[in-house]
Amino acid sequence: MLSFKLALRNLLGAGLRTWLNVVVLSFSFIIIIWTKGILEGWDRQAKADMIKWEIGGGQFWHVNYDPYDPLTLDESHDRIPAGLISSVQPPVPVLITQGTIYPGGRMLSVLVKGIPPEQKILALPTAKMVSADGEIAAIIGKAMAENAKLDTGDYVTLRWRDRNGTFDARELKITGIFDTNVPTVDVGQIWIPLAELQDMMLLPDEATLIVTPENAGPGEATEEWVFRDHEFLLADIESIIRAKGSVGIIVWLILLMMAMLAVFDTQVLSIFRRQKEIGTCVALGMTRGQVVKLFTMEGALHSVLAAIVGAIYGIPLLFLQSVRGIKIPLESSDFGLAMAEKLYPVYSAALVAGTILIVMIVTTIVSYWPSRKIAKLNPTEALRGRIQ
């Protein structure tokens, strides 16, 4: 307790030098917590949005379906099987094919997706797919609408090939445009009623994938249908966030290194300038180990003070951001993955406690490193203040 009091008094006595170190170290605390909080918030938000807009409770994929290879779409469809899952809410079959639209005389390749208009599992506004006089109603996402320069009420020609490879073309009426954070249901896609697409493709009662409701439990795979759970369907977003996380780690490692350099520098300087004090302490009966402990504690206390200072300005700042969110200046479609216009960082207790612990341990190690030199000092020489 004595050495703690002594260390604290020495530290505060150093004045500006201590506070400079403390402020730099507190920046490090806040940046670590902030970047980790953003990634955690993005992770939660992206997963929730993907479940809401695209994945539901998991999907059954036709065994040949590969979302990264549109050329396989011709062979990845089959009759919708009965009783894949036991759930009150019926699953949502989706049929996918390639097509071409011609907005304003331009040619755009699209994925045409058929979905039942009455479905309730996904947040897609499929109820808007209503039209009169035999028109085919279609809904598209905001990014697709901007790219194709289409608006609600516009007509656009769709050309596709049926199961025999025969060309066909029809006019589609855009009956709704939805705003989503999930580009995989938006960019380059057109949603039309499932029955229409089955009819157009000569594939009655067939689908490419089947979206199950949440809490329906794991589905049982068959020879033709493979169940893809959340872990599989969210693997991409998780790996991207992990990759982004490693970039964040590099940033905070640089910050931490700068702070540690300052602490290390201060320690070296203290030992050099306070040799008489070290000699006096030893002459008064302190063992060399006790003196090392005192100097190490002085260094380590930087991180305690930094945690307090960081809390003073960091808690209100981080709280405000978690409530108001951070506006992302880029369109989510530019990234090709689910990202909301505003990100709400999430700061867990484990994140805050873990960060404080890591910084304290690192600061203690950095403080101890130069203090070991004290053990080699000759007390009489040190008392005279001679440089050794």
Binding site: L71, D74, T100, Y102, G105, R106, M107, T157, R159, R161, D162, N164, G165, T166, F167, D168, A169, R170
Partner: protein, 246 residues
């Protein structure tokens, strides 16, 4: 005046009254006899007219029936040496810059060639019309100063790209001068104009073909036949994967 009217009525209704329009299927057979050969070799220029600029590709192609085709790009420099081999519904492309052969599934045949109005199917296939379509002559019209039969074609085989076609067939030369390709719904998808018709041995063959995707803007894609030879001796190794890297 009455005589004139009489002549007009007689000439106008004679084909209807006496069934003078020839049999559509016969016309298709004549077109096939004229256009289709056991094999052929041709050098051509494909000019893709874009919104602002035009791109020219020079190609040399060997075909045998409707199952084998081999094409080599001669121009521009960046595409020179690129080769494509089609055997049945499989397509292999060799790119000299990557020095690799890529095998592409049958679906790729439906994709556009270098952003043109032609698919690989259009460019590399040479199927007999009479084996795919029923035909009916619906009238006659003058195209490029030549009297043509208007022939409506409806596919009788299920696996075909265009369910319906309309041809304007030169009555004397048995070659279509214009072709319209329709979707099943009746929407006009593509129009092809064949011009600079010339006699090559016993055949009439176009020197220039203009393909136009009717759903998009632009002036279409021209295929200019610089040189063509029919029923020549094509060594077997041409239609093998080994020839892609040669």
């Amino acid at each position: 005046m009455k005589k004139l009217l009489l002549v007009f009525i007689i000439t106008g209704f004679t084909p209807l009254l006496f069934g003078q329009y020839p049999d559509g299927k016969d016309i298709l057979r004549k077109i096939d006899d004229n256009m289709i050969s056991e094999n052929r070799y041709y050098e051509s220029s494909m000019i893709i007219h874009g919104r602002r600029t035009s791109l020219t590709f020079k190609l040399k192609t060997w075909t045998a029936g409707d199952t084998k085709s081999f094409t080599e790009y001669l121009f521009p420099v960046r595409e020179k040496g690129t080769k494509m081999l089609k055997l049945d519904d499989q397509l292999w492309i060799y790119s000299p810059s990557a020095d690799r052969i890529i095998q592409i599934a049958g679906h790729m045949l439906r994709q556009s060639v270098m952003g043109s109005d032609l698919s690989y199917e259009d460019l590399m296939e040479d199927s007999k019309l009479s084996e795919q379509y029923n035909a009916k002559v619906s009238g006659e019209e003058v195209v490029d100063g030549r009297k043509c039969w208007i022939v409506d074609l409806t596919a009788f085989v299920p696996e075909i790209a265009y369910h319906r076609k309309k041809l304007w067939v030169d009555q004397e030369r048995n070659i279509p001068l214009q072709e319209e390709l329709f979707a099943k719904s009746g929407t006009l998808l593509k129009r092809t104009r064949l011009s600079e018709i010339r006699r090559i041995n016993e055949r009439w063959y176009p020197g220039k073909i203009l393909f136009k995707d009717m759903l998009k803007d632009g002036q279409g894609t021209e295929l200019v036949i610089d040189e063509i030879r029919f029923n020549i001796e094509v060594p077997d190794h041409i239609f093998s994967k080994a020839s892609l890297k040669k």
